[in-house]
């Protein structure tokens, strides 16, 4: 199991828990309990029940007929966009809210970029009747207004992160500061496979339901339980981790991760962590980071708020270093064009994050009977304004 986290929280050279002492009790409590809890029968029962009755799982594995025809290969979409609240993010928040209840926490905090994780967190807090505070960068609050509205409808308090680039990274800092200030009764629901151990592993396990379902569904549709390619966009990397998880040790499956190149790798406005990053430590984790020579984190840029993050989960750094996954970076304009294309070819308006993944169809060649599974990580409702402005629709 060379892609599993080790005892100390590392994936190869990446991971760990580089946290200030103030966070130690919280992280330690989690570390000591998370596996016990999420492997317990009670948790599994509650988790699966909520996933099925509340979230709407299993999400379909949809054979995209017109797209397949156009690219002369077999394309499946894993429809995480159909999850309650509109993205894969809720798989994780359902799991963590159950865990938080188990740990007797009375208050939830979270960071959010695109707002999907914020909405997913606010949703499970409403469901459980627990107080909820969401940190969101000022810039993201503006560009993802519908999700801000949703969080408020759900009764969450949305606090604007005014530091740094005022996007996801800064919202994460703010959330961690809140946690430092409220170490006893608060649980911090991180929204991706980032942050200190055990978060990357915990979130990966909760998102792993995606690949678990893909296995069953592919077997049913194709008579074999694995595809030739798995493709997902990577912000922090949670939807990707969830899609890859059960296939990591199956070397027959080629793994492709797509990150956001913003205005272009060399434009100075990008979020292509793998292409531009060096190993470093941020948000409690050792991983690849966009940073300058002095070790200051570079403010990332992507048209999609959910990929606008200068780091990447340590699992993904490891998949890159070991060459288990191929990393590709995609410009804003290619992603936007794919947002429109998927809408008009398949009637599915994807989140701009999600749209990035499809660009590989233009740059890689696939065989006629290759089976590709794309993670359709979220729907584009939150991005309508960006789409409309961009395409002048």
């Amino acid at each position: 199991m060379k892609y599993k986290v080790d005892e100390k929280g590392f994936y190869g050279n990446f991971g760990g828990a580089y946290i200030p002492e103030m966070l130690y009790p919280n992280i330690d409590e989690l570390k000591r309990n998370y596996l016990k809890i999420i492997n317990s029968e009670n948790f599994r029962k509650d988790f699966e029940k909520l996933l099925s009755e509340y979230v709407g799982r299993p999400t379909p594995l949809y054979f995209a007929e017109r797209l397949s025809k156009k690219y002369n290969t077999k394309i499946y979409l894993k429809r995480e966009d159909l999850c309650h609240t509109g993205a894969h993010k809720i798989n994780n928040t359902i799991g963590q809210i159950l865990l938080a209840k188990n740990l007797n926490k009375k208050r939830i905090i979270a960071e959010t970029g695109a707002g999907q994780h914020g909405v997913a967190t606010a949703t499970v807090c409403a469901l459980m009747g627990i107080d909820c505070v969401i940190y969101m960068g000022e810039v993201d609050i503006k560009r993802q207004a519908p999700n801000v509205a949703r969080m408020k409808m759900l009764g969450a308090q949305v606090r604007d992160a005014k530091s740094g680039s005022k996007t996801l990274k800064d919202a994460t800092n703010e959330a961690m500061r809140d946690w430092i200030n409220n170490p006893v009764d608060t649980h911090y629901i991180i929204g991706s496979v980032v942050g200190p151990h055990p978060y990357p592993d915990m979130v990966t396990r909760l998102q792993a339901v995606i690949s678990k379902e893909v296995k069953t569904q592919l077997l049913e549709k194709e008579g074999r339980d694995y595809p030739d390619y798995l493709i997902a966009c990577v912000g922090g990397g949670s939807n990707a981790a969830g899609l890859y998880y059960h296939y990591l040790n199956n070397e027959k499956v080629k793994i492709i991760a797509v990150e956001a190149a913003g205005k272009g790798i060399n434009s100075g406005e990008s979020a292509a962590t793998i292409k531009l990053g060096k190993i470093g430590i941020m948000h409690g984790s050792k991983t690849l980071l966009m940073q300058n020579d002095d070790g200051q984190i570079i403010e990332p840029y992507s048209i999609s708020a959910g990929l606008d993050y200068p780091g990447i989960g340590p699992l993904h750094s490891h998949l890159y270093e070991t060459e288990r996954a191929k990393f590709v970076s995609v410009n804003d304009s290619e992603a936007m064009d794919w947002g429109l294309a998927l809408s008009q070819i398949e009637g599915i308006i994807p989140a701009i994050e999600t749209a990035h993944a499809f660009s590989i169809l233009d740059t890689m060649a696939f065989k006629k009977d290759d089976i590709l599974v794309f993670n359709c990580s979220g729907r584009g409702d939150k991005d309508l304004e960006t789409y409309i402005k961009y395409f002048k629709l």
Partner: protein, 253 residues
Amino acid sequence: MNRIQKKLKEDKKILSVYFTAGFPKLDDTKKIISRLEKHNVDLIEVGIPFSDPLADGETIQKSSKKAIENGMTIRTLFSQLKDLRKKVKIPVILMGYLNPIIQFGIEKFCVKSKEIGIDGLIIPDLPVEIYIEEYKSLFNKNNLLNIFLITPQTSEERIKLIDKNSKGFIYMVSSSSITGSKKNLEDNSFKYFDKISNMNLNNPSIVGFGISNRETYQKVIEKSKGAIVGSAFINFIEQNGIECIGKFIKKFR
């Protein structure tokens, strides 16, 4: 014996001051150190600014941002402090997050620090376990004391582990909070100070976070070896400049 250890041996309470290198102006670093020493501060913590200082409150965040904009880097800091020990006698500690240090090169960082005459390091995001495994021998070799933080939530067992791996003092965070976030100390902070003092640790404790005036300082040093002033000092020099630092120090003792 390290300057910190010597200082701690003295039969007096410690007043330590934190400031961010390169703030308000890039070349204020040395001037501030000189003035702090002149006004009888016992110990100085020089902050290396980082873009994402997750354990710090607004004041220090802002000063770090400004310092980075001013051009402060570890390289610059080391060159500013090149001749530190020509004048400055009191212990000087560098405080900074791990990432800039790693990018500079951890070994080079330690060697340079020793060369200059740095006495200790505070690296908030370096937990004791990783310290022991990867950093301890290097720090020891360069006579750099690593200072660990503890909080009211830190378990006794862990305090003992930290104590065992400390050779200077323990940075006792006054309450569960980021720097500068609380106006006053809470009652149960004092219970916690008592608890620590009753543990009879090998290392003395110095209290940080939330020390902003004579009243808090006086109360705190009854229960500890000393106190660290950070945000309050940064606010002061931001508003009053660095000329009248003496006035600020007199507010404490």
